[in-house]
């Protein structure tokens, strides 16, 4: 019951946050120079045609009234329509969101095993040779531009070896796994080092605690202490980081989806910003924000379940 009240309270708290997000996005979009209609009707259209269509779409209404119209529709669950495609934004999101969600979850699945393996390995002998090598390789992975890694992977794994598709999403679940392998791998290259570094620190922090020393002195084996005490306690801080990483992955999807022509939200977002497709940017940002909020909530609940000391 307590947990339910906690969830409801948190969801209510997120309403003003989402409102803030929508105001910020709206202000950004209306202040972006460039006319969506010019891009829509193409290079040859006359100024008169543009003016007529702008008027038709209500783009010349006062900004405040545009926002309130938008907000009014939003409350009724209507995200508006794309200026470019004249289809409902919700339809576009329904089409692209699952792809990005699949990619994010897939990336996480690929990321977690190496993170756990590498951080435990390097925390066992801090600053030993393994730790140093993992650190250096990690930094190299972190410092390589994602789009460059993506291009190299596509050429090597896709073209030279012919192992994986270099584009698209596929139609069936096995195909999704196949098509999104390279995008997920490319994402892993820069996320694994970040998470590894954090989990390693958390592990080291825990190992320096009194109870570990005490456990060791009582004659418990080092690996047993590690498994039963150190590791579980280190998961919590990493779990928190996890929520931040999901936000990162959503933002990072912009690049990998462009490089691998994956029809996902990141690509939709960039294209819509470039085309000044206001309502799509609005809707996509809200969905991104909502996703992050839900993940954070989930993390908090999970933390609470793992460690009842955390005040829910």
């Amino acid at each position: 019951m307590k947990i339910l009240r906690f969830i409801v309270a948190r969801l209510l708290q997120s309403v003003p946050v989402l409102l803030g997000v929508s105001i910020v996005t709206f202000l950004l979009m209306v202040n972006t120079p460039g006319d969506p209609i010019r891009l829509l009707v193409g290079v040859r259209a006359s100024d008169e045609t543009i003016a007529i269509i702008r008027d038709r779409y209500g783009l010349d209404d006062p900004i405040l009234s545009q926002y309130f119209t938008y907000l009014g529709n939003l409350v009724q669950g209507d995200l508006g329509a794309s200026l470019r495609f004249r289809v409902p934004v919700s339809e576009l999101i329904g089409q692209f969101y699952p792809v990005t969600l699949f990619l994010v979850v897939y990336s996480i699945v690929l990321i977690l095993p190496p993170v756990i393996l590498l951080s435990v390995w390097s925390a066992k002998r801090p600053n030993g040779p393994a730790d140093q090598i993992i650190r250096i390789v990690g930094v190299v992975g972190l410092a390589m531009p994602v789009f460059w890694v993506g291009l190299l992977f596509a050429r090597f794994f896709g073209v030279t070896l012919g192992l994986f598709p270099v584009s698209g999403f596929g139609d069936t679940i096995p195909q999704h796994f196949l098509h999104l392998f390279l995008p997920a791998l490319t994402t892993a290259i820069w996320v694994v080092p970040i998470l590894t570094r954090n989990l390693r620190s958390a592990l080291l922090d825990e190992m320096n605690r009194d109870y570990v020393t005490a456990g060791m002195s009582k004659g418990l084996g080092a690996s047993q202490v590690f498994r039963t005490h150190v590791f579980p306690n280190s998961v919590l801080p990493t779990l928190n980081l996890f929520a931040v990483i999901v936000a990162y992955l959503l933002g990072g999807s912009v690049i990998v989806e462009t490089v691998y022509a994956v029809p996902g939200m990141g690509k939709l977002m960039v294209d819509s910003i470039l085309a000044r497709d206001y309502f799509v940017v609005q809707g996509a940002t809200l969905v991104f924000a909502l996703t992050t909020i839900v993940v954070m909530l989930a993390v908090d609940i999970l933390s609470a379940l793992i460690d009842p000391r955390i005040n829910t």
Binding site: T32, P33, G34, D35, P36, R38, L39, L40, V41, G42, V43, R44, A45, S46, D47, E48, T49, I52, I53, R56, S82, R84, F85, R86, V87, L92, Q95, F96, L151, A154, R155, G158, V159, L161, G162, L163, F164, P165, V166, S167, G168, G170, D171, T172, P174, Q175, L178, T258, V259, Y260, A261, P263, K267, L268, D271, L274, A275, R276
Partner: protein
């Protein structure tokens, strides 16, 4: 011997087979240009043009050699005064099986000519009306003669749509999932991703299209398209960067033929703003440029240096003219004499012109300009261009037909609505000749007018022409017969899958 790699491939192939999606009987084309609407009058953007041709048949069509042939119109007559065209329609059906009537034709063509939201009605300015005389006959009456009018019955926005369909479901529903008259119909449209087409069983040309369907996939990034092409995930790639043509062409299963286009790349000075309102400054800017070397650097020798303000693929192209030759010392002197030495100019570009901007800046600065490059995204570029809020920029354009009428209206006419491609170049003599040439029925006299227009506008450097590039599209050897016509139409209906 099956090695590890082979095994992996077998496994994955099996997975793909299990998925059941076969790309074998459809043609997959990747293009950087987006499809944003399926309504032929709603947009003149490149991605839509590429799609319209597949969806809507026109009264006439062009054969492989670029000659006009009957299409939905079986035959036609033109009155002696050139003001009345009578088209006899053939028996043809829409994709939903209903008959294409004269009503539909008149409705479609009046719509593109007269609807206030028609994106590019320039070709139809002389039109008085299209009228359905009976079920099989349509007349077109003009207010004044237009020499290229017949060829305009073939361009991308002259497609025939179903009046019943538009009226029954409304324009918005139509624009997303139309009843079609062309070789293909819509199987599925995923905006911002792909348009999936399937063969229209009711298409008037018997035996066409030869493939079951096609995917028009939007892929922005040049490298991604190339990777997809090399990996065999697509059958055609629109716009291979010249830097990659040889590499892609060298691949076993891919060819990159360089095919003729009506494209022209040029430098666009804003004639309404200092310092480029001054002809001598424009001349200095032209003389400062080694256009041969610039062209070679940008296209790796795969394009022809441009000599006129109009594309060389157009009829009546004037081969006897040229912008001032490369002479940086003379350019500097000219700037000095105009008191414009050290003039600060801002070169506005879109991201695709980075290399060009670097080349131009270096050469202009060497001749005494002080150039700042300002990169903006496409949305901002169009906004500032059309508002005249720039000093100089670079871009390309193409022409729908080989006839130069639309080209001169677009590029060098100050009174045709677009202010000479928004450069504000405005010469009354040129404007008058543009109108005269349209009405002129005598080929030789028409040709002379267009040559004169080119001579004047090149001499006055309406734009500084850079080069005429060919289309460099990549095609898989799996297919045969696919090409992009100079008017940006894929010849998909004649495409065959050979293995």
């Amino acid at each position: 011997m099956i090695n590890a790699k082979g095994l992996v491939i077998v496994t994955f192939t099996a997975a793909t087979l299990a998925g059941g999606s076969f790309a074998q009987d459809i043609v997959r084309i990747a293009s950087p240009n987006k499809v944003t609407t399926l309504d032929p009058i709603a947009s003149a953007a490149a991605g839509n043009i590429e799609a319209f041709g597949q969806l809507y048949a026109r009264l006439l069509r062009k054969d492989r050699d670029g000659n006009l042939q009957p299409a939905l119109a079986e035959s036609w007559t033109i009155s002696d005064d050139g003001l009345t065209y009578t088209f006899d329609l053939r028996d043809a059906k829409f994709s939903d099986g209903t008959t294409i009537t004269a009503e539909d034709v008149a409705f479609s063509l009046n719509r593109v000519a007269k609807d206030e939201a028609s994106a590019y009605p320039a070709a139809y300015a002389p039109v008085s009306a299209f009228t359905a005389v009976d079920d099989d006959t349509v007349t077109l009456t003009l207010e004044y003669p237009s020499a290229p009018m017949l060829s305009y019955m073939e361009i991308f926005n002259a497609g025939i749509i179903s009046k019943d369909d538009v009226e029954a479901r409304g324009e918005e529903a139509f624009a997303g999932d139309p009843v079609t008259s062309g070789p293909f119909m819509v199987e599925a449209w995923k905006p911002n991703d792909r348009l999936t087409l399937k063969a229209n069983p009711n298409y008037w040309r018997d035996g066409y299209p030869k493939v079951a369907g096609a995917d028009l996939i939007e892929v922005q990034d040049d490298n991604t398209r190339t990777s997809m092409m090399l990996a065999g995930e697509i059958d055609a790639s629109r716009g291979v960067p010249f830097a990659q043509v040889d590499e892609v062409d060298g691949s076993d299963s891919v060819t990159v033929p360089l095919s003729p286009s009506t494209l022209i790349y040029g430098v666009m000075p804003n004639h309404a703003k200092a310092p480029f309102d001054n002809l001598n400054v424009r001349k200095a800017a032209a003389m400062a440029l080694n256009r041969e070397a610039t062209t070679k650097a940008m296209t790796l020798g795969k394009a022809v240096v441009a000599n006129s303000t109009l594309p060389n693929a157009l009829t009546f192209h004037n081969a006897d003219i040229a912008p001032p030759a490369y002479d940086p010392a003379a350019a500097r002197e000219l700037l000095e004499s105009e008191g414009a030495l050290g003039a600060e100019i801002t070169l506005m570009i879109t991201p695709s012109f980075e290399q060009a901007a670097t080349l131009l800046k270096a050469q202009w600065d060497a001749a005494g300009f002080k150039t700042t490059v300002e990169r903006v995204d496409g949305g901002l570029w169009w906004d500032r261009l059309t508002k005249g809020d720039y000093q100089v920029t670079i871009n390309w354009w193409y022409n729908e037909t080989e006839d130069p009428d639309l080209a001169v209206r677009w590029a060098v006419c100050g009174s045709c609505g677009n202010n000479s491609y928004y450069t504000n170049y405005n010469n009354d003599d040129v404007n008058q000749m543009v109108e005269d040439a349209l009405r002129e029925q005598d080929e030789a006299k028409r040709g002379a007018l267009y040559k004169e227009i080119q001579r004047i506008s090149t001499e006055e450097l309406a734009q500084i022409p850079l080069y005429y590039p060919p289309f460099a599209n990549a095609y898989s050897t799996r297919i045969k017969g696919l090409t992009l016509t100079p008017s940006l139409q894929w010849t998909l209906e004649e495409t065959e899958i050979v293995n």
